[in-house]
Amino acid sequence: MNFKLILNIAFHLLQARLKQTIVAAVGVTFSIAMFIALVSFMNGLNDLLDGLMLNRTPHVRLYNEIKPSENQPIFLSEEFKNSTNFIRSIKPKDIGKSIYNSKTIISVLKKDTRVIDVAPKVTSPVFFNSGTIEISGVINGIDVLSEEKLFKISDYIVDGTVTDLLQNNSIIIGKGLSDKMLLSRGDIIKITTSKGKLASLKIVGISEIGIAEIDNVMSYTSLATAQKIVGEATNYITDIQINLYDMTTAPAVANEFRNTFNLDAIDYQTANSQFETGSTVRSIISYAVGVVLLIVAGFGIYNILNMMIYEKMDSIAILKATGFSGNDVQWIFISLSIIIGLAGGLFGLLFGYIFSSIIDSIPFETASLPTVKTYPINYNPLYYGIGITFALFTTTIAGLFPALKASKIDPVEIIRGK
């Protein structure tokens, strides 16, 4: 089949109805552009919200949970081995928050090829003293460098720098805490631990995550300072936080670590299942709207091609009389709609990018997200791929029916009908 000639004929037919062709292509352009802008924006938003969660939640966290022993003494008894035992009033057992043999576990984890990095942490409830008032809070002793690498905490430091924590006896407190206690950078804060130990720390920074509940209680200090405050040795670690290269494997990896290290392990998906749900629903909505827009554009193309066939009956008849088969005529009309779809779709990608850039530059300042200055956009090339594929698919389908009709036109009827 001579595709060059068929394309040539298709182009000439399009030129003859240039205005309608442009209207049809603009329909496709509009829907693709809207699709791209919508999906990019929605996913940008998803990424932002996911980031908010992931920047605080490790992919896998290892810790000791306070819980009842799974193996109660009666299970060891030979006598009741084959009986069903009912035990009442079991009390949970505190095996201590400290992770046993933490140094070895950390060094093993650091060698694991799936793991980006490991951040050990000491968490302890404390009281912040302001005059006679005590405000309860939490102190997090962190390994500053690995914590920064995994969770980008510097993004949330609104005053001071995170590396100042490397100095002895320094602390970064939450914005809510500093507002309540009228403290600012450079001041000294007094801390009482739950075991009654007192400490004075120098404030080197203020952090703001944007969630009031957290900003009101949270504080950061170095691992060594935290261990000193709670009066424990340098091997005292309460949490081991792990980020993985492939975060989707987190549940499986958490399970594996739970068994290997005999510790409690939780993955980020279990810890934050509501985020997953929100992201999925938003994605579905944006794709649904995009597909509807494209279907509407498809109907437009169908209409215009149908009209063109009625207008071009004579031309179709003469093409057939001079040796073009029904198949050739069908391909002429399919290429017509592919040309409209391709041209409209490519412009749609361009405009979609432009719309996305415009949204990306609209100021979006909110107290809860200190690092975000404009609306978030995800420029994933995948959306552009989906966009152009959808455009070609719908326009080809829309062109297929008129094309089949054109291929079945009987030239004798038209020539005779005159």
């Binding site: 000639l5 001079t322 198949n327």
Partner: protein
Amino acid sequence: MENNVILETKGLSKYFYDPVKFQVLKEIEMRINYGEFVSIVGKSGCGKSTLLYLLSTMDTAYDGQIYIHNELVTGKTDRELALIRNEKIGFVFQFHYLLAEYNVLKNVMLPGMKLGKYSDQELENRAMKHLKTLDMEDQALKMPNQLSGGQKQRVAIARALINDPLIIMGDEPTGNLDKKNSDLVFDIFNRLTQEENQTLLVVTHDTDFANRTSRIITMEDGKIIS
């Protein structure tokens, strides 16, 4: 002698079913030899146009057989028939039927481009040569709607000639033209048979036109009577 037959029919019958079953063509047996200039005449409704459409392979719903150049064309696929029309048959219709989207030259070249036997450059030369013999070379770059009826018909003839067809079929080619242009078209056809030995089959009800052709087939009620 057998090789000289361009077109042959055997027991060709055709029915119309709408509104009632009606036999338009009754067991037509005919033969057209190489180089003949044949006209089919008959009253309106005698089936002469229907016969032409069957012979042209565009209408395939019939009983009997049609041979073009001793090759049975009955029962061939749409694609094969399209190729036969493209290569072996040239058409001239009552209403010129040029493509409004293309200029005169492209209209003439189009069947040749479809056949793909010659390069575009060669086709252009051939098209210009045909237009020149029809005295149309200065109109080559005009659009069809800028031409008069007679000029359009000459372009249609040039288009019919582009692939050196075995036979040119005309359906009332002069039906829409005045006397002067009719004569012009007849002269062109006549010259083609005389000089190029081109086979021609023309349906007409213009008796003046028919009387000047080399053979007249008269039809009545779906039968050839002479």
